[in-house]
């Protein structure tokens, strides 16, 4: 068969991509404190330890709040940019869109230190969940725009024009006609922004206040060998959660494409 060596290579590559994650459940259910082979016996008590950890529960709560706020604000900004992107050109439009997408290729540590300087030294603010949210919105907006661009550019503008010709105002035409059509893209964008924010560490480590986010808390745990199996148990839950969220996001994205009558050709980005 043509392309067989390439197919074998691609499958090996996928195995390489999944190798670390495949180890997670092994150690999460392994009855030993040391994360190494050979495996001992089966246990679920690392998950029990996890449930009893109040500091962790608080960190998870913080992260969920930050991720939810980030998802909302990044998607709102993403909707503005993606809709503008699908509309008529005006001078400087390409440059502005490129500038808004810049955080995608900027080293995260630059974003982290620049915001730290502004928040602490220039504005004299105390670091809190909101400083993390402000930064996460900045880095998640380009992802939201990329996803929503697909939704808005596949849209036929004559549908909205038809609604306006039939007497709807510009705003209600958007709400009644366009919004339902791009809704799958919006849901997908919110889930992606949520997932990125929930996992982000490099910036959160700089901008987190007295209450750490979940990745910052995990970072602290990684220094204590006795805590590592608990980290593995937590990781297993997180990976399962991310996969579920992503499958939902993907299903919404596909439904959106189907609604717009477009043949599916690509993934998220």
């Amino acid at each position: 068969m043509k392309g067989l060596p390439l197919r074998v290579y691609a499958i090996l590559y996928l195995l390489f991509l999944y190798a670390p994650i495949a180890l997670l459940p092994l150690f999460a259910f392994n009855d030993a404190t040391i994360i190494a082979f050979p495996l001992k016996g089966f246990t679920t008590h690392w998950f029990g330890d996890l449930a009893g950890n109040a500091a962790l529960r608080q960190a998870v709560g913080n992260s969920l709040f930050i991720a939810a706020m980030t998802a909302i604000f990044a998607t709102l900004l993403g909707i503005c940019a993606a809709r503008a992107g699908a509309m008529a050109r005006f001078p400087g439009k390409g440059g502005i869109l490129g500038f808004v997408m810049l955080p995608l290729v900027l080293p995260e540590i630059i974003v982290a230190v620049s915001l730290l300087i502004v928040m602490r030294q220039v504005l004299g603010l105390n670091l809190s969940n909101w400083t993390v949210i402000a930064a996460h919105v900045l880095i998640c907006t380009p992802f939201s725009i990329a996803i929503l661009n697909g939704a808005f550019q596949n849209l036929d503008p004559s549908i909205e024009e038809a609604a306006m010709d039939l007497g709807e105002s510009r705003l209600s035409a958007f709400r009644l006609v366009t919004l339902p059509l791009v809704m799958p893209g919006i849901v997908s964008s919110m889930l992606i922004a949520f997932t990125i924010s929930l996992d982000e560490f490099i910036i959160a480590f700089f901008l987190t206040g007295a209450n750490p986010t979940m990745p910052v808390y995990i970072w602290g745990l990684l220094r204590f060998p006795a805590q590592l199996p608990v980290v593995m148990a937590l990781g297993t839950i997180l990976v399962t959660l991310s996969v579920v969220l992503l499958v939902i996001a993907e299903l919404f994205r596909r439904r959106g494409l189907a609604r717009a009558g477009i043949k599916d050709t690509g993934g998220f980005l």
Binding site: G3, P38, K93, V100, L106, I202
Partner: protein, 291 residues
């Protein structure tokens, strides 16, 4: 032209819509980066910032070898990671674009992106489990009787940092190359074959040059962010594998010397941008030389 006319034209409405994301990025990206530039010309005076203009931080950067060594190592690691990632990713993107049936493509892309969305910290830590002294590779090789002593060159050094980063950035390399390959008009390839080129020369004279925009995007999207990562060198690098981002982090969060940290960040940023621009220009010249 009044505001009323402005909002009636479609371009005007597009500009109004683009304003919120633009001003957000201006306030939280452009202005903060300007603040970093400003800080790099100031100095830390115990608890306060001395705001008289000075090049002292930059002088210290180039006088003390530690900074230039770290920066050099960072650029080298990012360069190798980029090369490894892009070279390993190209065949996968090629396979996806040319050999996978259209209706299966999004499933493949989905499978490739999933690992990227799982906890970064935990993924890095698991590489420690794979490469460690009692790790998967060592116990596997010893169990198979291939080696007697655990291999020590794969953890707590630059090699471990490179392997881990190459894994973390894999999807970033595959996606832009895939997109570029998808855009290639298949009839050009057929034409080349009809005109007597072999499959191999067609690849080098048609497919590869046409996929160049994707390759360039992949190189930039891997090379630039890897400079800013301090998690992987901290966990995997040991004493000899620390990178410039670790130094920036130390200056800001442990030594409380924001101006020095700012100067390091600026120098690193300038180096990365200069290398990225040089790469883009060389690539353009190469493509034009062929055309």
């Amino acid at each position: 032209m009044g505001l009323g006319n402005f909002t009636k034209s479609e371009g005007g409405r597009a500009a109004m819509l683009l304003a919120p994301p633009f001003f957000y990025a201006l306030a939280l990206l452009a202005l903060p980066i300007l603040a970093v530039v400003l800080f790099s010309f100031w100095t830390q005076d115990f608890m306060t910032i001395d705001t008289s203009f000075t090049l002292a931080n930059y002088r210290e950067f180039f006088d003390k070898p530690i900074y230039t060594v770290l920066l050099g190592r960072s650029l080298m690691v990012s360069g190798i990671v980029t090369l490894v990632t892009v070279v390993l990713a190209f065949p996968v993107a090629y396979f996806l674009s040319f050999h996978v049936r259209p209706e299966r493509k999004s499933l493949w892309l989905f499978l490739i992106t999933i690992p990227f969305w799982t906890s970064y910290l935990i993924r890095v830590f698991l590489w420690k489990v794979i490469l460690g002294y009692n790790g998967v590779i060592n116990s596997g090789l010893i169990g198979a009787g291939i080696i007697d002593e655990p291999l020590s060159f794969i953890l707590y050094n630059v090699n471990a940092v490179i392997i881990t980063l190459a894994h973390a950035f894999a999807p970033f390399a595959i996606l832009p190359i895939f997109v570029a390959l998808e855009k290639i008009d298949r009839s050009l390839i057929e034409a080349s074959r009809d005109l007597g080129e072999t499959r191999l020369t067609t690849f080098f004279r048609v497919t590869l040059p046409l996929s160049m925009p994707g390759l360039v995007a992949a190189v930039l999207i891997v090379f630039i962010p890897t400079i800013g990562d301090y998690v992987t060198p901290e966990l995997m690098g040991g004493a000899g594998g620390k990178l410039i981002a670790n130094m920036i982090q130390t200056q800001f969060l442990q030594l409380n010397n924001a101006p020095m940290g700012a100067a390091i960040a600026i120098v690193a940023m300038i180096c990365v941008t200069a290398i990225a621009l040089a790469f883009v220009m060389l690539n353009r010249r190469w493509l034009r030389g062929r055309g």
